[in-house]
């Protein structure tokens, strides 16, 4: 069935059930609250960034649908240990992929397993679910405190 193959792939279902880094972080230096007003999802990003701009630890809290939770979980796994600049690049690539401006099958990007979210582009209202954690991450990087996806 289409929803299983396109959207709810097993990896996503697994991350939804057992999200990684679903917790606050010690010595938090950056954080942001993200909202998706359409569905009421709220995700908070917690980060500890060192002097050189390296993400030492990152976690998330809040509530959301399977897509936003799995996306948050996989995001934390992927940005941990990266620099803020690298994380931002990853956000941009991820965003382009889910809105259909980047073909994950092609090269020249760093998405790796995040490519599994490509199917989201077929579900316009779910794109925001997939990007909520990422928008909130960028907000935390920018230290703006609060963001809303519209």
């Amino acid at each position: 069935m289409s929803y299983q193959s396109d959207l709810y792939q097993q990896v996503i279902l697994d991350h939804n059930k057992n999200p990684k880094n679903f917790r606050e972080v010690e010595g938090e230096t950056h954080s942001c609250d993200g909202y998706n007003p359409l569905c009421g999802d709220k995700i908070k990003i917690h980060m500890r960034v060192d002097d050189r701009g390296l993400i030492e630890d990152v976690g998330f809290s809040g509530s959301g649908c399977a897509i936003s939770k799995a996306s948050a979980s996989m995001m934390t796994v992927n940005v941990k240990g990266k620099t803020l600049g690298e994380a931002r690049t990853l956000f941009e690539e991820f965003h382009k992929m889910v809105v259909g401006e980047l073909d994950a099958k092609g090269g020249g990007h760093h998405l790796g397993r995040l490519a599994i979210f490509e199917g989201v582009r077929e579900y316009p209202s779910r794109i925001k679910c997939a990007t909520l954690a990422w928008h909130t991450l960028v907000c935390a990087i920018d230290k703006t405190g609060e963001t809303t996806i519209e």
């Binding site: 069935m1 289409s2 929803y3 299983q4 959207l7 709810y8 279902l13 939804n16 059930k17 359409l38 569905c39 009421g40 999802d41 709220k42 509530s63 959301g64 649908c65 399977a66 897509i67 939770k69 579900y123 779910r126 679910c129």
Partner: protein, 410 residues
């Protein structure tokens, strides 16, 4: 068999609605989001087409025959609305662009008579359209906003209400039926108590007017707001009923053409209600289509519709109650045909995506009623809301769909 005892022929009804034969994702549409908006019978679609193709003119301005006839049709819709609500004098019917605009009209216009310390009572089960306008008044004027609590079963606390009422209460604004919980509130009693305290009362009828017979004379409410698009009429039209003397005491809200008597650069005098509140070129096509929707509803019979919808509610409550891990939110004894629930296995947003793949259109979210979500401690709910064109077989199909959801996320 006479009209009263004839069984409800839902297949015949469905044939009146072109949308009900639409396909979604290649599957027949099962539309269960009627609390958001309802589909239009052919009679309404055709009425608008005919007006625009054969009778179109602006209303209330043109003194030529075409304009006069359009004005008559427009005013005829006002009369139909007054009759439909048992409102008496049609001058008590103001056409707006929707329930939100109707509620804002009262907040902005009646609101001008309020001052710091005056109290407004709403409830914890209001739609944002009946919450935010009053918060704005609170923040701008310093009026005090009081909120009637809601019990765990979704019932409005009448004791809580009685305690909030007092000599400073100027307005009570509550919904006749909750768009999330389905709860039908005892409007007549709420009105009586408001009036005893010397307060005016505004009823949000967005979810009740399309589904149960409304009698504003019996209720004795001061205002009633609702939307056309939820009662089988086009988008872009809504109604505010108001008692004439009260409307007549209120300043205008939107200003411009058609709501004035005289305008000089120095001074403007305003028309009587309802014109005072209908500035600008009105949504003539939509109002006329709205009149056709009322005709349609009358032809089916409000009481028959309501009775049938109650059978859908009962059936749905039983069937969904049998789904594993499903908790119905809103269990009032007296409900409109709305069932909100929380499914343990999956977030509402995921539920509706999977249902959508099966052809079922249903809404997951906060339903523009975040304070209700907060009250019941959920971020969102999934909601099935029925109309008299739905069938029990659609409810069975929904239950099967929920089993699929549980399989996927199980």
């Amino acid at each position: 068999m006479d009209k009263k005892t004839a069984p409800f022929d839902v297949d015949k009804i469905r044939a009146d609605f072109p949308m009900l034969s639409a396909k979604v994702n290649g599957k027949p549409l099962v539309y269960l989001d009627n609390a958001a908006t309802t589909h239009k019978p052919l009679a309404v679609i055709e009425r608008v087409r005919r007006f625009e193709s054969e009778q179109y003119a602006t209303v209330r301005r043109g003194s030529y025959a075409l304009g006069e006839r359009a004005t008559e049709m427009f005013e005829e819709a006002r009369k139909k609305t007054a009759d439909f609500l048992n409102a008496g004098d049609p001058r008590q019917i103001i056409f707006t662009s929707g329930a939100t605009q109707s509620l804002n009209l009262v907040a902005h216009s009646f609101g001008k008579s309020l001052k710091a310390g005056d109290e407004i009572i709403i409830s914890n089960m209001e739609h944002h359209a009946n919450t935010v306008p009053w918060q704005i008044l609170r923040d701008e004027l310093g009026v005090v906003l009081r909120v009637i609590p809601v019990g765990d079963d979704g019932v409005l606390s009448m004791e809580g209400y009685a305690k909030l009422l007092g000599p400073k209460t100027r307005l009570v604004s509550v919904t006749a039926a909750s768009n999330v919980l389905g709860t039908v509130n005892p409007v007549k009693e709420i009105v009586r108590m408001a009036h005893s305290a010397g307060a005016k009362i505004l009823v949000d009828g967005a979810q009740s007017v399309p589904h149960v017979r409304t009698d504003v004379k019996d209720w004795d409410c001061d205002f009633l707001a609702f939307s056309g698009h939820k009662i089988y009429a086009p988008t872009g039209v809504g109604v505010l009923f108001g008692k004439y003397e009260i409307l007549d005491s209120m300043p205008p809200y939107v200003t411009g053409g058609d709501m004035i008597n005289t305008v000089t650069l120095e001074r403007t005098t305003f028309a009587k209600p309802p014109q005072r509140f209908e500035a600008g070129t009105p949504a003539a096509s939509q109002v006329i289509g709205f009149g056709a929707a009322i005709d349609y509803v009358n032809s089916v019979g409000m009481d028959k519709m309501a009775a049938y919808e109650q059978t859908l509610l009962d059936y749905g409550t039983r069937v969904l109650g049998g789904v594993k891990g499903l908790r119905i939110i809103g269990n009032a004894p007296h409900k409109a045909a709305i069932i909100s629930f929380w499914l343990e296995a999956a977030h509402p947003h995921d539920v509706v995506t999977i249902l959508d793949d099966l052809g079922i259109s249903m809404r997951g979210g906060h339903h523009c009623a975040q304070p209700v979500m907060q009250r019941f401690g959920v971020p969102a709910t999934t909601r099935a809301s029925f109309s008299f064109y739905n069938k029990t077989s659609e409810i069975d199909f929904l239950a099967e769909g929920l089993q699929k959801v549980i399989e996927v996320f199980g």
